[in-house]
């Protein structure tokens, strides 16, 4: 079941770090990889100096990198920068990745395509993806409308034998085991790793995740509007509701009409790390997150809990077994 990722990516546990922009830096990616998963640096909207620095922070760890495809298309040289670090895998989300695939293939990195619909999954398989991430709307940050529970098995059936990883709504070993039952080879996990010691991002944002409730998150465009990012209108970002989103969600036209003034307010709030106004991307699984931990502890706990639920001997158990 999860052997596919071991074979494809050389990892011990079927856990991938979601390449969260400004959150998944080199230290977090390296920590996840050292713990037996695969860390992916989040290239975000494309700051070359930042990306270079984070790759260097990852040191010798075997990691990957994830791009917002439409942002990469505006600054394609970032792919060359990343490939120079010989990443294990390159992940593409939100946009047409086909122009970039030959370079990734030539560099010997694995191609990971994240999709939000069954139709996109078929396209990614046809384009030659080595691994497809089926992302449900439960996910924190940007995503679509389909749910992990129904999207994953449909994608598994449609793209076989290409392996599929589930994303969206997975924050503990129960969720990891659940998506493996659906036919996924593992999980790509974001929000749970945002609440880790190694994650970039201010302590206020991490505290927001720990304190947030799953009943009070929403998918919204208001933070993309105020930050000026040209996301496709069907892609929204999941956030725990705060004062800003409660004020503007559903009133996007009014926000756009007052944009210059609201952007000044927003930048002031950013400077103050005020999460009542600024965005904290987090998924619906926040109910299951109540501490900020080292990433290695998260990987180890999720893997061992999932193995126990699935009745799979963990590596350490297997070693103990072989010694007896």
């Amino acid at each position: 079941m999860y052997g596919a990722l071991k074979e494809l990516l050389g990892i011990e546990h079927p856990i991938l770090l979601a390449p969260m922009g400004n959150v998944s830096g080199g230290a977090l990616a390296a920590a996840v990889s050292h713990a037996g998963g695969l860390g992916l640096i989040g290239a975000g909207y494309g700051d070359a100096d930042w990306l270079d620095r984070e790759f260097q922070k990852a040191g010798e760890a075997r990691i990957g990198v994830g791009f917002i495809t439409w942002a990469l298309a505006r600054n394609a040289s970032l792919l060359d920068l990343a490939l120079a670090y010989e990443p294990e895998a390159v992940m593409f989300s939100f946009g047409d990745c086909t122009p970039f695939l030959p370079a990734v293939r030539k560099a010997g990195a694995k191609i990971i395509c994240q999709v939000q619909t069954l139709a996109q999954a078929r396209g990614a398989a046809a384009a030659g993806a080595d691994l497809i991430v089926a992302q449900g709307a439960e996910a924190g940050g940007h995503g679509g409308t389909r749910s992990t529970l129904t999207l994953v098995p449909a994608v598994v059936d449609a793209v076989a034998p290409t392996p599929v990883v589930a994303a969206g709504g997975i924050a503990d070993g129960r969720g990891l085991a659940a998506v493996c039952m659906l036919g996924a080879s593992g999980a790509l996990i974001g929000t749970r790793f945002f609440a880790s010691e190694e994650a970039l991002g201010h302590a206020n944002a991490k505290r927001c995740i720990v304190e947030s409730q799953g009943d009070a998150t929403v998918r919204t465009r208001v933070f993309d509007i105020v930050r000026g990012y040209p996301w496709p209108v069907h892609i929204t970002g999941r956030v725990p509701l705060n004062r800003f989103s409660e004020q503007w969600h559903g009133r996007e036209d009014a926000l756009s009409a007052d944009l210059a003034h609201q952007q000044i307010r927003y930048r002031e709030a950013e400077a103050a790390n005020d999460t009542d106004t600024t965005v904290v991307f987090a998924g619906e699984a926040v109910d299951l997150i109540d501490t900020i931990e080292p990433a290695a502890a998260i990987v180890a706990r999720l893997a061992s809990e999932a193995y126990r639920l699935m009745g799979i001997p963990s590596t350490s158990d297997a070693k103990i077994g072989s010694v007896r």
Copy 2:
């Protein structure tokens, strides 16, 4: 894991039939119960003659009944009608069920409360529910916004030791096994049973489910508006998109403004069983449904597939084992 339902409801397989109005009649409920699950007749908007007839069709089968709570409140005598048939369980969804619980308790039936949020789950546990159904937005028909994958484990943690059943997005053994990994004691399943031989509803509606795509369903209020049902505005119904919903979804005010005319058109379409215009409630898991089958075959396949995935010997395997 699934032993809780065996103990509470006396059933063999952890599968409950969702009480779909005008779909889950006595024949379907009895078929699911005879196959080892628990069938629930769907009392819908409350037609006493219909409900009486469907209970009689179920014969001696041990079944339950499910109410739309706000509709029952308009016609509370329906509960007495149902309790006279000594149902195994009574399920309440969408509204305050507490006024009805003493009568159910007195009649010796189990109380099942379906919830769409963690806050509602806490309320149901406090009210004394014997079983809580955590329903995700993947579900066909009426529901909320939270997803099954994140809602179920959060509810399990919040209401323990009350058992929890998952609903929404479960249409095969993979989905059943997945929700068991999340801590659910089983699944309440609707759409998969709509596409059964025993389900009420026109052949056109069943064909619609078989032919629909998960990428093309939506949660909408337009069918409640045109049919004149006063659902709370936060509760929408999931449907495969058809000509009517493509025309009016997102244009609810325009529909209301032209209501009298549109209702005439709608009733004509109902008389013609025209599913391009009339509603077919179905969930996001329609990708996984490609045949109309006897309900017993669905129960047997889902249970055995889930047991195999979870490494649990099925009853028949266990019997074979004890004979050896």
